[in-house]
């Protein structure tokens, strides 16, 4: 227990330091608050969107696989302290365990759950005149006959919208 006394003392000191800082700042700092100051920060303009309240489920999967690895690591620590006494038996045990963890990791990656980058997808645009059109000012030289591939993703194929 005594070994943890200095840590406790440092904890108390750190908390006191932060608390005293807040009190001191409360005494010294001016209080001229306005509702504009207390509004959410939006680079000086009126907030146009609400804070998003949903996030991609990918974050959840990252936390999930982290738990798995965290538990593996927690098992590795005691193993690492006595792995020489355990010898080959312990080594094989750990290999089996590591393989099982690795397997779930591979499963997760194989499903694309840890991919974050933008997806490259072919998008079908309307066939447009090679000249300028009302949709775009870019001349599509030689676009005729090139957009006829079939395996493209048509779900987001709204005219003029790039993926």
């Amino acid at each position: 227990m005594g070994q943890y006394l200095p840590i406790l003392a440092l904890l108390i000191l750190a908390v006191l330091f932060a608390a005293i800082s807040f009190v001191a700042s409360g005494l010294f700092a001016p209080k001229r608050t306005t509702s504009a100051k207390r509004a959410p920060y939006e680079c000086g303009v009126e907030p146009a969107q609400d804070t998003p309240d949903r996030f991609p489920v990918r974050f959840f999967l990252v936390a999930m696989i982290f738990i798995v690895f965290d538990i593996e690591i927690i098992f590795l620590y005691p193993w690492a302290t006595i792995f020489r006494q355990l010898g080959l038996f312990g080594l094989v045990a750990m290999f089996i365990f590591a393989f099982a963890v690795f397997e779930s990791f591979v499963y997760l990656i194989g499903n694309g759950a840890l991919d974050w980058g933008p997806v490259k997808r072919a998008v079908r645009r309307e066939l447009v005149d090679p000249g300028r059109t009302a949709n775009t000012t870019i001349r599509r030289v030689g676009a005729e006959g090139r957009m006829e591939f079939d395996d493209v993703d048509t779900r987001t194929a709204t005219p003029g919208e790039a993926a």
Binding site: P47, R54, F66, W79, F89, S104, Y107, A113
Partner: protein, 243 residues
């Protein structure tokens, strides 16, 4: 000294546990859970189970509650839900009944095993866990840690359980992927979510929004929205969260 630490950490645990139940905001409840777990870690230190204390903080506070918080942020339930809605009919009565039954059970077990429930020190003669004053004036310092004994038990007698844990973790990951994955094929119409690009006034909570948690979500929903546009919107939302 140990008694003081015990009572302080027990107080933290109880306060945290109460907080989990009582606080309406899920994030506050998750924080109370962290307080409870921290209290348990202190209790472990008090009982000289040092490695378990570290595990308690690293795994439970550091990983599992972070997962809870992700879920809370993910689903966007970080607002007080309507506490008077009862998804299961008469659930309050059932809960009270179950709690009473549990209390009686605990009391019965407590009476039946009175005196035996505290168990024995796990390391009777295997190691010295306290400093010992020798007769000749020297002191034998305490053993570094019980981590070695834990490892020995885990990787010899309980090695099968240890391997099964890996299987359990794999199943958990597969389950998470299956649950999180949206079905393949044509996109189903998505649940009614307000398009994130819709320009809105700075948030002013209307009375309907305050009482009905779902009212805010589909209030501005454009009935002409097609599935295609919703998919595009969803993609945009994803990009935004990543940005």
């Amino acid at each position: 000294m140990e008694a003081i630490v015990f009572f302080v950490s027990a107080a933290i645990i109880l306060a945290g546990g109460l907080g989990v139940i009582v606080l309406r905001n899920p994030v506050h409840a998750a924080l109370s859970l962290v307080a409870t777990l921290f209290g348990v870690a202190v209790l472990f230190i008090d009982m000289e189970a040092y490695f378990l204390a570290a595990v308690q903080v690293i795994v439970y506070a550091g990983a599992i509650v972070v997962l809870f918080l992700f879920v809370i942020m993910l689903v966007g339930v970080d607002k007080a839900e309507d506490i008077y809605a009862e998804p299961i009919i008469k659930q309050r009565q059932f809960a009270a009944l179950a709690a009473a039954g549990m209390l009686i059970l605990v009391a019965l077990v407590g009476v039946a095993f009175a005196g035996d429930v505290t168990g024995q020190p796990s390391n009777e003669d295997m190691t010295i866990s306290r400093a010992i004053e020798n007769p000749d004036g020297t002191t034998t310092p305490a053993e570094t840690s019980n981590i070695n004994q834990l490892a020995e038990a885990l990787f010899t007698d309980y090695v099968f359980a240890f391997e099964i844990t890996a299987l359990l973790l794999t199943i958990a990951v597969v389950g998470a992927v299956v649950l999180a994955r949206r079905p393949k094929g044509d996109l189903q119409p998505l649940p009614d979510v307000e398009p994130s690009w819709a320009l809105r006034k700075p948030r002013a909570v209307t009375p309907t929004e305050a009482t009905d948690p779902s009212a805010g979500d589909d209030a501005d929903q454009d009935p002409d929205e097609t599935t295609v546009d919703q998919a595009a919107t969803d993609g945009a939302e994803t990009d935004e969260a990543k940005a």
